[in-house]
């Protein structure tokens, strides 16, 4: 499995895995959108690029996810495919998606923001995990 959500008292945790931190970030974004819609039904028709930076890799994850959430609101898009290029404390992320279809995409719940709670990015035996709790 490339990503998953995990239980949390009032909200939901999201977790992405990968062979690199960048890949884990891509999958964490997929986990984020899986909270909101059925992402396998979201076609990769439109492309958006975001540039974010942060003092460390964990805060960078939050920045990346929040940049996507803002884009979703502003451009009325939901995303399903992601590509991340990491350069030290900064990243260039590309997201593909389409305008929200309120029937086909089976919308669930809006995410208000990615938080610092249970925020962690780590590597174990060559496998990276990127996770945090998101406020819904």
């Amino acid at each position: 499995m490339q990503y998953e959500t995990f239980e949390h008292e009032a909200d939901i945790g999201i977790r992405g895995f990968g062979g690199t931190a960048a890949e884990a970030f891509e999958n964490a974004a997929a986990a984020l959108y899986s909270v909101m819609v059925s992402i396998d039904r979201v076609a990769a028709l439109e492309k958006r690029v975001v540039h974010v930076s942060a003092p460390d890799r964990e805060l960078l994850l939050v920045e990346w996810l929040n940049a996507l959430l803002a884009l979703s609101d502003i451009d009325r898009l939901v995303f399903s495919k992601f590509q991340v290029q990491m350069e030290g404390p900064a990243l260039i992320g590309t997201a593909w998606g389409e305008a929200l279809d309120r029937v086909r995409h089976e919308p669930r719940v809006e995410v208000k923001g990615a938080t610092y709670h249970m925020l962690s990015v780590y590597e174990k035996d060559g496998r990276y995990t990127a996770q945090c709790v998101v406020d819904v």
Binding site: E7, A10, A70, I74, K112, T115, Y116, D135, V136
Partner: protein
């Protein structure tokens, strides 16, 4: 939380004595049962807040307190700028000024029931709700700044509602101190198309019947009688508020380092009230409050339009509008001295006692209405603020039930369709934009709101006036 680990002051007040670097004690207003059910994390968070500079009297937790980001949900704390007090994003949260507004309809259950399904269908199709919903009004950049300064007053000027509505909103529908220039462009852009939208998650629009009246005098002041129909709206500041929160989390993290504030949790990101960073956050957050007030005002207008179409004999009048996630400048008496304080209420509501100048004339002798939301299947309550609450909790009370079960667990346990069917069998009509969202909001996934209300009542934070029961609910 083990009650034996706390100092019991009385049946509804428990203290975490001041220790270590705590500047004040922690105080939890709850019954023994609620204390037992509380997450151990609440203690940790109450203690963390008690360590913040300039905190007054106590770090307070309401009966519905549960784990939150930085502050507990149900956390209240007041800070004095003259004592180096801070303002914290963690004391407000992401959904700035999320709140409840209750409207009177001038009709009874008997009169409303025959056309209830039509009403609910109209509310469901015409009040924008759910993931990605768009409002009927699109704002330009200039209009957004006006809205952020004007709040509900702006909305009324634009024709959404009547002037009389403003009387029944905290601060008359508009907080001072909003600075649109402190709100990021991203935050504003997120709001262009989201005015007058309900959102999703625990936000709702509910048709309720007054099922029980406990305090005749207060109910009379509010114009409430048994079997009356009221409509309650629960929503917040939408994308704009969330972005202000997100921006502040980052900006205040730098301020913490700059001013050498010791915080135990990154989400307590704070700045001294009088610092440029603190002032910037206060200006942006206040703009967020006005956005939420304008948003609920536009929804009120839609509800009024729809209701009077379905029931031409009805008349929608405001009962009151309260905000949950705020930091407000208020004057409170501390050890016999009046002080201007920055009162943070995170998942807690203002509950001013009688005599306060901000209250509408007809409520001034009884106190501020306090609207406590339940779930789709259970009761909500209307209370009033008390003099005692002013003294012990800066005029604050609890805001709702709080979750008992995670969203993931609720979804595993129930199916949205079954929840809808079961509620319909109990005479509650449900319309939702997402079955999975409904499953996550199943009534049993929340704590018992009655227990929380009883605790607030017995702790004398607010006094019970009436219980209302849902007969229809629209979910985002």
């Amino acid at each position: 939380m083990d009650p034996n680990s706390l100092r019991k002051i009385n049946d509804y007040l428990w203290e975490i004595p001041r220790q270590g670097t705590m500047k004040v004690a922690g105080r939890i207003f709850a019954s023994e049962k609620l204390v037992r059910e509380m997450d151990e994390k609440v203690r940790e968070q109450v203690i963390n807040v008690a360590m913040l500079p300039g905190i007054q009297i106590a770090s307070i937790a309401m009966p519905d307190a549960h784990w939150g980001y930085g502050f507990p949900i149900g956390g209240v704390a007041a800070f004095d700028p003259e004592e180096g007090g801070i303002i914290s994003m963690g004391g407000v949260g992401f959904d700035i000024s999320c709140g409840v507004r209750t409207l009177k309809t001038g009709m009874t259950k008997e009169e409303v029931t025959p056309r209830l399904k039509t009403l609910v269908d109209q509310l469901f199709s015409r009040v924008p709700a759910g993931v990605g919903s768009e409002g009927l009004i699109k704002l330009s950049p200039g209009q957004i700044d006006e809205m952020l300064i004007g709040g509900a007053e702006w909305a009324v000027k634009k024709g959404y509602g009547v002037k009389d509505d403003l009387e029944y909103i905290e601060e008359h529908g508009r907080v001072d101190g909003a600075e649109p220039e402190q709100v990021s462009e991203t935050a504003k852009k997120r709001q262009y198309r989201e005015m007058g939208t309900l959102g999703s998650g625990n936000h709702y629009l509910e048709v309720q019947v007054v099922a029980e009246v406990y305090d005749e005098q207060a109910a009379q002041a509010m114009g409430l009688r048994r079997d009356d129909i009221v409509i309650s709206v629960h929503c917040g500041s939408r994308g704009l508020g969330h972005q202000i929160g997100t921006d502040a989390l980052k900006n205040l993290a730098f301020a913490v380092q700059k001013y050498g504030i010791t915080i135990k949790d990154r989400e307590l990101a704070s700045a001294p009230i009088e610092s440029p960073e603190g002032k910037r956050y206060f200006g942006a957050m206040s703009a967020g409050i006005n956005c939420a007030l304008a948003n609920r005002q536009i929804i009120t207008h839609l509800v009024r339009e729809i209701f009077t179409e379905v029931y031409p004999e009805g008349h929608i009048k405001m009962l009151y509008d309260i905000s949950h996630n705020t930091c407000k400048v208020e004057t409170h008496e501390i050890n016999g001295r009046k002080k201007r304080l920055y009162v943070h209420r995170k998942g807690a509501t203002r509950a001013f006692g009688p005599g306060q100048i901000d209250l509408p004339q007809e409520y001034r002798h009884v106190g501020q209405p306090v609207l406590i939301g339940g779930t789709m299947g259970t009761s909500s309550y209307i209370l009033v603020g008390t003099e005692e609450g002013m003294k012990v909790a800066f005029g604050s009370a609890c805001h709702g039930a709080g979750r008992a079960m995670s969203r993931t667990a609720a979804k595993k346990r129930w199916h949205g369709r079954e929840v809808v069917k079961e509620l319909e069998e109990h005479g509650i009509v449900i319309r939702g934009h997402s079955y999975s969202g409904i499953a996550e909001e199943a009534p049993e996934s929340y704590k018992d709101v009655t227990e929380v209300v009883e605790a607030a009542h017995h702790a004398n934070l607010a006094r019970k006036v009436a219980r209302v029961k849902p007969i229809a609910c629209v979910k985002g």
